[in-house]
Amino acid sequence: MSLTGIYPVPLKRDEALELVRQMLRIRRFEEACAELYGAGKIRGFLHLYIGEEAVAAGALTVLQPEDAIVATYREHGHALVRGIAARAVMAEMYGKVTGCCRGRGGSMHLFDAATRFFGGNAIVGGGLPLAVGLALADHLQGIARVTACFFGEGAVAEGAFHESMNLAALWRLPVLFCCENNGYAMGTALERSESQTDLCAKAASYRIAALPVDGMDVVAVRHATQAAAAEVRAGAGPRFLEYRTYRFRAHSMFDPDLYRPKEEVEEWKKRGPLHTFTDRLKAQQLFAEADFERLEAEVAAEIKSAIEFAEASAWEPVEDLTRDVVAAEAAS
């Protein structure tokens, strides 16, 4: 956590406010989701990102629109920051036809081709080889863009992680591996699932330049991601960032959260990305309480509108059930 600490935020006010706004959007959106889940509006599995907002907000705001994003089943934040409309995400959570995947994917499977957002993957490690392939396509076509692949530290235990790291390094592909290390793979702590808990060392063993980042510090995330993405974009091959972060909520709505001490959770909450960042901004006179109130109001309006939109939206007609299994002309 070398980059942690009170140091000046080297950002313009509008850049800083944007980061606050994005983190706030994620936080409030997910709080609403948790409530709606309790109300039965959202079903299936719901994995909340609360506590980890700095990673999505810091990383995705410095990626380019032409870059590709691959994410996990804990991807609401990434989807929102990437620019998928909150209403389309919320409608998807509701299972409505106006959702980004027509209500077929739900929380774990958010996709949006328009913003090159390639999911939304509920198989741990499943996105890594996909990201390698997206980067391979760019590489072969001579397109200088980045594929940012988000995955949890639990995925490091999968064979797919190792195969993907090796392929990307071997072929010098433009992949930015974004490991969101929140310490627990579902209920299993990193030290109980990895013999080598230094994840950067694993990446380094594939000769991939790797850097640990304080995932609770949105500025650190932003700067590390910006630098690494620039190298990847320049053709330097893959880079690996380990964002050390923490989820404040349980793994999913159905998780009694018995595997970690409450004190640990409370300790991490003191480092919550939202309030630590706004505290620093206030200390620098870049941010006032009024700003916060204004952002809160904006975000609240956006989420209220998203919920209203989802509520008012229609279900996909059942007759369309078999649509899009394969291309229409090939269907029979």
């Binding site: 079903r43 739900g106 235990a157 999968e158 209920g187 299993t188 279900w315 059942v318 059930l321 078999t322």
Partner: protein, 329 residues
Amino acid sequence: MSEKLSYREAMREALRSALRRDPRVFLMGEDVGRYGGSYAVSLGLLEEFGAERIRDAPLSELGFVGAGIGAALGGLRPIVEIMTVNFSLLALDQLVNTAAALRHMTGGQLHVPLVVRMATGAGRQLAAQHSHSLEGWYAHVPGLRVLAPATVADARGMLWPALEDPDPVLIFEHAQLYNVEEPASSAVGDVDIRRAHVRRAGRDLTLIAYGGMLPRTLAAAGQLAAEGIDAEVVDLRVLRPLDATTVLESVRRTHRAVIVDEEWRSGSFAAEVSARIMEQAFYDLDAPVARVCAAEVPVPYAKHLEDAALPQLPAIVAAARSVLGARPA
């Protein structure tokens, strides 16, 4: 006494009893220990048996399933839990290329006394990567025994016979069944893991189901009874080796068969059952064999679409009526 036992508890009791009975038995899988199992089946076992025998594994399905095979070769009786059948695809190589093949490939020198448990099936809005029913794929593979306990009694009584089997046994637990309760008194003793079981006797047609489709199929039989149609319900419960005898005996009596299967129709296990009936009871059939299967789509998230994709009670009832023709038999 009308003490109730849930399917989940029955499975836990089966694990507990096996762990107590045979020191070679251990449980291994993702979050089986401290977390208590993703479906809370193994909750509390860590405290009783310790971390060596209730062994949390990293998210390394290929690795720990393969390790289970090795441990079985090494003289133990591993029970490996895979979170869902969708995740088992990551371990398909070890299951098919190693566990199933070893005995035959080595000319009988080696065998793999391994039990693999996993959740299967849809119905909880978990969408296309957590909802599928692929047990028929495994039932395709010689060298495996494939079980699908559909009742609390079977959940309680299948594990020990599976552990006694000298060859690999896969147990598919439909996630919708975990909360099903039956009187505890019904779940005693081992279950014959070679035989299908007639859950309801009837004269007019045979409804054939397994796993998660059994309760729904029994409900359909109840509804048909109200219409004066007397349906027999056969619970396959062993998908491999298929107990064709029980199925055929029933069909030879009723002359009509409807197979209910949560798998996709094409290449489904229902297709295998249907083919057996056609091959071995063709001249006993009084109507074409009917199948009620899932729509051929990845299971969608939205509730109404998921419902539409899965075999539902009205479809089972309608299929039963259709094989009866213009009038009840």
